[in-house]
């Protein structure tokens, strides 16, 4: 029982890492990026190529990929998301879904159907574990992922609340017109925010590759988990993503206890309950709905 709870918390750390970029774009820029999962998988392949084929040290590979994904985010915003303001709300959804389909199949063509893992890049660490009192063993990687989730969310919150760039990002997302009147280049600011969101995807990709193996079509499951964590947690602060991830991980673990195939079903049910609760409370989602309309 204790080990089940501990493992659920560790799993929650993993989901929080997966969800951070999605939550950042959603709560800060009101955009749901349906290519979020596929982009994390892409970053995973990038890490694999840099670390395994080019033999670069793992931290160097992460740094390079973060820079690359940041640039890709800027391009994604300029080429796709920025057009949303001219073409209506549906456009970013349709376009990012299309991009995810293209990425999934391109990665299948390039890297094949085999599952890859980043574990060999970190040597012994991948199977090392901490021993807790009561002979409970927890994988070091899982613990580090949980710590990383907290650090990444903390850093992004710090960026948003304490830096000039963070304030410009908030201003752009809350009231684009007024932000522009103050001299803020809203297009550039939103592009940088997208870049940051995608750069956090590299951390998610590292977690994905170290924790388990992944294949070219893994993006849709990642998107689903990340989205469920975001909806269960609710918007407002990125810390709520961590809360949502914890609920999701516990619901899945409980589901797995009930039935061998109940893992995913448990998570989906938790998501539905969260949606129901929000509808019954009504106010939260309605207020946000009207808030969006007032700005439109």
């Amino acid at each position: 029982m204790t080990s089940l709870i501990i493992n659920a918390f560790l799993l929650a750390g993993y989901y929080a890492v997966l969800a951070t970029g999605l939550a950042f774009m959603y709560s800060v820029m009101n955009i749901i990026n349906l290519a979020h999962g596929a982009l994390i998988v892409l970053a995973g392949y990038g890490l694999y190529v840099l670390g395994n084929d080019l033999n670069l040290p793992f931290p160097v590979a992460i740094a390079i990929m973060m820079a690359a994904m940041f640039l890709l985010g800027v391009v994604l915003h300029r080429a796709v998301l920025a057009r949303a303001y001219g073409g209506g709300e549906l456009l970013p959804l349709l376009a990012t879904f299309g991009i995810s389909i293209v990425l999934d199949n391109l990665m299948f063509q390039t890297f094949g159907a085999d599952n890859l893992s980043l574990a060999p890049l970190v040597g012994d660490l991948s199977w090392a574990s901490f021993e807790l009192p009561g002979s409970i063993f927890v994988g070091k990687i899982s613990v580090y992922i949980l710590v990383t989730a907290i650090v990444v969310i903390g850093l992004i919150e710090l960026l948003l609340r304490r830096t000039a760039l963070g304030h410009r990002i908030q201003a752009t997302s809350q009231d684009r017109a007024t932000a522009a009147l103050l001299g803020i280049d809203t297009g550039r600011t939103a592009a940088i925010a997208t870049g940051i969101a995608l750069a956090t995807g590299v951390v998610a990709a590292a977690a994905l590759g170290l924790r388990s193996a992944w294949g070219p079509y893994g993006g849709s499951a990642i998107l689903l988990f990340a989205f469920e964590a975001v909806v269960i947690g609710g918007t407002g602060s990125l810390w709520r993503v961590l809360a949502g991830a914890i609920v999701l991980a516990f619901a899945q673990s409980l589901g797995a206890l009930v039935h061998p195939q109940g893992f995913l079903i448990g998570g989906h049910l938790a998501f539905l309950v969260a949606v129901f609760v929000r509808l019954r409370g009504g106010r939260i989602s309605l207020a946000r709905l009207f808030g969006k309309e007032a700005r439109a």
Binding site: L34, G87, L90, F97, G98, A296
Partner: protein
């Protein structure tokens, strides 16, 4: 319609009459397929009708009600599954299909009660979660045996020529019924509300359009039509493997057909479906590259030609092909 001096208000016209002619011709041709071209061709004809159903329904949802769903496979897959279940319980397979379509409408109504309160991306992925949940639950059914799946064995009661013809005629009848229902809906008072919401949701709300009710009508219709497509696809394929019915590739196909044909126009959805049918016939064998091509084309259309092919063709025709609005002209008298 009260007459206004100096103005002639009409709907339809020569283009519309031509369209009706084309549709009747196409329906007759399709109906004659089993007799003229044989069993294989009638299977393809069902595929074409299923694509048209899917495209027209997804377009109604996204283009008219502004609801992008990446989980319409919920209705597609569930209808196939319930057909299997009803047939297994001893029902005639064609009755099972009709019952499953009705059940699809009911499921759509239930889902609409809570999902329509979500907006934008939340609705899009929320529908996917539901579809995924349905997929996982279906896998638990011992009859389905996980991803192994099963077949609509009771179809064997009909000899192969009879059943392929029956399936095609049923598909044709259902497609026509759904199509006529949609056009009638768009030409009714609800249709005016749908158009208002499509053009400007906030504006529509402010002039007293019941946005939620209108969206619910469209959603339930889309659920019904998509369920019909799923049951028909099963009747044509006979094998039911959950992944082949709940898989996300269907959403990609719907997206492609609607974006390329033209979001928000029935004519566009039909053109997109026909185009997709042709592309699939000639390029389907290219596997992943074929899907990459579909995705790329859909993204490029979304970014560069958001109104699709019909957005280019439509304005060049005199009048509407499928008239859902009114034409107002100064009278020449």
């Amino acid at each position: 319609m009260t007459a206004h001096p100096g103005l002639i208000v009409t709907r339809g016209g020569r283009t519309a009459r031509i369209t009706i002619g084309v549709i009747i011709m196409a329906a007759l041709l399709l109906a004659a397929t089993p007799a003229v071209l044989g069993i294989g061709a009638s299977g393809r004809a069902v595929a074409l009708l299923v694509y048209i159903l899917l495209a027209v329904m997804w377009n109604a949802l996204a283009g008219f009600a502004g609801l992008v769903s990446i989980g319409q496979t919920l209705f597609f897959g569930m209808a196939a599954y319930t057909t299997i279940r009803f047939a297994d319980a001893g029902l005639d397979p064609y009755l099972a299909i009709l019952l499953s379509i009705a059940l699809g409408a009911l499921l759509g109504w239930i889902v609409s009660l809570f999902m329509l309160s979500l907006s934008g991306g939340e609705f899009a992925i929320g529908m996917w979660v539901l579809s995924s949940l349905a997929h996982l639950s279906v896998n638990l059914d011992p009859l389905i045996k996980g991803e192994t799946g099963t077949s609509l064995i009771s179809l064997n009661a009909y000899d192969i020529a009879t059943r392929s013809a029956l399936t095609l005629w049923l598909a044709l009848a259902i497609t026509l019924v759904v199509f006529v229902t949609l056009v009638a809906l768009l030409r009714s008072k609800t249709g005016a509300a749908i158009t208002a919401i499509r053009d400007d949701e906030i504006g529509a709300r402010s002039i007293g359009v019941d946005v939620m009710r209108t969206k619910r009508v469209v959603f339930v219709l889309a659920a019904t039509g998509t369920a019909a497509a799923g049951a028909l696809w099963l009747a044509s394929a006979t094998n039911f493997q959950p992944r082949a019915f709940f898989g996300i590739q269907w959403t990609a196909y719907m997206l492609f057909m609607v974006l390329v044909g033209g979001l928000g126009r029935i004519e566009g959805a039909i053109i997109g479906a026909v185009l997709f049918f042709l592309i699939e016939t000639y390029f389907g064998a290219f596997g992943a590259w074929y899907v990459i091509g579909l995705g790329l084309v859909a993204v490029l259309f979304a970014l560069l030609l958001p109104k699709g092919l019909w957005g280019w063709i439509g304005p060049r025709l005199p009048g509407e092909a499928i008239p859902t609005g009114y034409l107002v002209e100064k009278s020449r008298s």
